[in-house]
C-alpha cells in the first residue's frame, strides 16, 4: 500500500464535485485501514472529503470555457505517515490566502480555503506550466 498513488481525472464541472469528495473519503478510509488506525477515523475521512470538495469546487468554478471544461486531476498519495491529496487544474492563477471570518457582513463564499487550512496539516499551492496545484497532507492521529 505504501507509496501507492491513485489518480482521478474529472471534467472541470461542479456536477462532479460529489464524485471527487466521495472518492477522497473512501481513499482516506483505505489509507487508515492500511495504517491500522482505529481512532478518529470519521474525522480523518471527513477532513479529506471536505477539503477535496472545496478544492475541486474552486478548480471547477473557474474552469473555462464552461462548454468544454478543462479536466481537473485529483491524486492521492499514500505516504509513510500521511495521506497527501493534490488537485491540479489549468485555470488562471489564484491565491491561497483565505479571508478572515467576517461575521458582520458574512460573505456567501470564500470559505473553502479557510476550511482546508484548518482541517489539513500542511497546504501548499504551486503554479507551474500554466497549471495550479493545491497539495494538502494530513497525518492520522496515532495512539
Amino acid at each position: 500500500m505504501k507509496d501507492s498513488t491513485i489518480t482521478l481525472c474529472l471534467p472541470g464541472n461542479i456536477r462532479f464535485t460529489r464524485l471527487a469528495s466521495l472518492t477522497a473519503s473512501k481513499t482516506a478510509e483505505l489509507f487508515l485501514s492500511s495504517m491500522k488506525v482505529s481512532k478518529g477515523i470519521d474525522d480523518f475521512q471527513h477532513a479529506f472529503e471536505l477539503s477535496v470538495s472545496e478544492a475541486f469546487t474552486n478548480a471547477a468554478r473557474y474552469a473555462s470555457p464552461s462548454s468544454h471544461p478543462q479536466p481537473v486531476t485529483i491524486s492521492f498519495r499514500f505516504e509513510e505517515k500521511q495521506l497527501t491529496a493534490s488537485i491540479t487544474d489549468s485555470n488562471p492563477a489564484f491565491t491561497i490566502e483565505p479571508p478572515a471570518p467576517d461575521i458582520e457582513n458574512y460573505p456567501e463564499g470564500g470559505y473553502g480555503l479557510l476550511l482546508i487550512r484548518s482541517l489539513m496539516d500542511t497546504v501548499s499551492c504551486r503554479r507551474e506550466n500554466n497549471t495550479n496545484t493545491i497539495t494538502m497532507s494530513k497525518q492520522p492521529e496515532i495512539h
Partner: protein, 465 residues
Amino acid sequence: MKTLLTIRENSYAWVTSALQGLAPLLLPICNKPFVEFLVDFAVLAGSREIRLLSDGPLQEVEQYCEDGSRWGVQMSYAHIKESDDHQTIFEKNRRFCNDSKVMVIDGFVFVGYDKKNDYRDLFNSMPDGTVASCTTGSIRLFTVSESNMANNDETPVSLTPIDSVESYYDLSMHILRHESSRYVLPGYGSEPDSYVGRNVTISKSAEIIKPVSIGNNVQILAGSVIGPDAVIGSNVIIDRKSRITESIVLDNTYIGEELDVEHKMANRNTLISPQGAVSIAMEDPHLLTGIKDTARGIGNLLRTIVHTLTAIVLILLLVIPFILITPILAVQGKWKSSRKTCYDHTCKGVISLPDVSIERSGPLSAIAFALSLDRLPTLFRVVGGKLSLIGNAPIAAEEKNLSPPAATPGYRPAVFSYAEAENWPVGGSDAAIVERFYAIHSNPLQDIGLTMKSLINRFHDTTTA
C-alpha cells in the same frame, strides 16, 4: 440525569487577552483543564450525557474531550447565540433534555465539590431550582415538565467565579494548598500534596517543597527550588538556580537561570502578576537579554569557526555519495529541489535557501535520506557564514507565523535543528522550548555532538522505518 454546560464567550474573554495561546476552556487549574473538572463533577452527579454549549468556538475543547468515552460519558456540543436566555437554550436542546432531569451549569465558574461525596442520590432527590450560584454563574436543576421552582437552602457544592487572572491564580493556589484531595488531579503522587507527571527529570541538587503539581515533559535543573505552592505545567524547563514559589508556570514555558519567580504566573516569555483587577504583563528581561549577550562576542566567533570546519568535513564526506546518488534520484523524479525564503539571523533580513525533499521510496532514496544528502546544498551556506550548522529550523518568511523569529530569542537559522537532535517534533511549540534551551546552553563542542546526534537520528529513522 443529564448535564448542560453553558459557557459564554464574554465570560472567558479575559483569558484570551491575559494568557496568550491558551484555550480558555482548557485553562489548567492545578494542571488539569478547567472543563475536565466540570465533566468529573457531572459524572459524580450521575450524568451519562453531557452537552457543552457556547456562543464561541468549541473546536479546541472538542478536540480535547472528543466523545467523552474517556470518562465513560457521551459528550456532545452545540451552539447558542449570545442573546439566548435559559428558556431558549432549553428549547434549542429539547431533544437532549427530554425525559430526564437536567443539571445546567452556567458560566465560567469553578464547582467546588468533593470526590468522596455522593451527589447522584442527592441531586436526584432535590427539587427543581437553583442548587448553587455566584456572581457569574449558577447550577440549576430542570425537569421537562416544568414544576414549581424551589430554592435550596443548603448548597452541597460551592461555586467560584473565574473572571480574572487574580481569581484564577487564587483558585489554583487554594486547591493546591487545601483541597487537592477533593479532586482527581493528574500525575503520580507517592505522597499527598505532590503530583508529578510523566517524563519529568529533576536534578539531584534541585529541591522540591510540597505542595507542588508538575506536568509532563518537565526538566528541573541543578540548584533550583520548586515550591512550596508551585504549579508547573507540561513541556517546561526550569533552569539552574531558579526558585518557583507560590507561582504557576503554564505549559511550554522556559524559565531562565537564577530567576526568582514568586507569586507570579509565567506564560511563555511573559511574567504576569496576579494582583489587581487588570493583569500586568511584563517581558521577562532576564531571559531575553541573557540570550542576546551570548549571541555576540568571542563565544560566537568560536562557534562560527567550529560550525564552518564541521560543515567542511561533512561536505567532504557527503560529496561523493551526493555525486553518485542524486543524479539517479533526479532522473527518477524523487529528488525535488525548490527554494524557500527564510528569516536570517538578524530576524529582519531574509535569505533564500535550497529546499530539497526526497520521495521516500526505494533503497537509493533511503540511503540518500539516511546520509542527509538533502541537507548538503545548505551546508555550503554554513561555510558562507549565512547559516549555523545547528540551531533553529529556519522560519519561512512568507508564512503567517505563529511565532515570528522576534519572539524566538537567540534565533539562529541552521541546517540541523536542536529539536531534530533531541528527537522532538520539529516545528511545534514543544520544539521551540528545546531550541530556546540550547540557544543559551550549548557550547561549540556540544554543537558538534548534537549535529552528530541529528545525523544519527535521521539515519536511525530510515533504517527502522
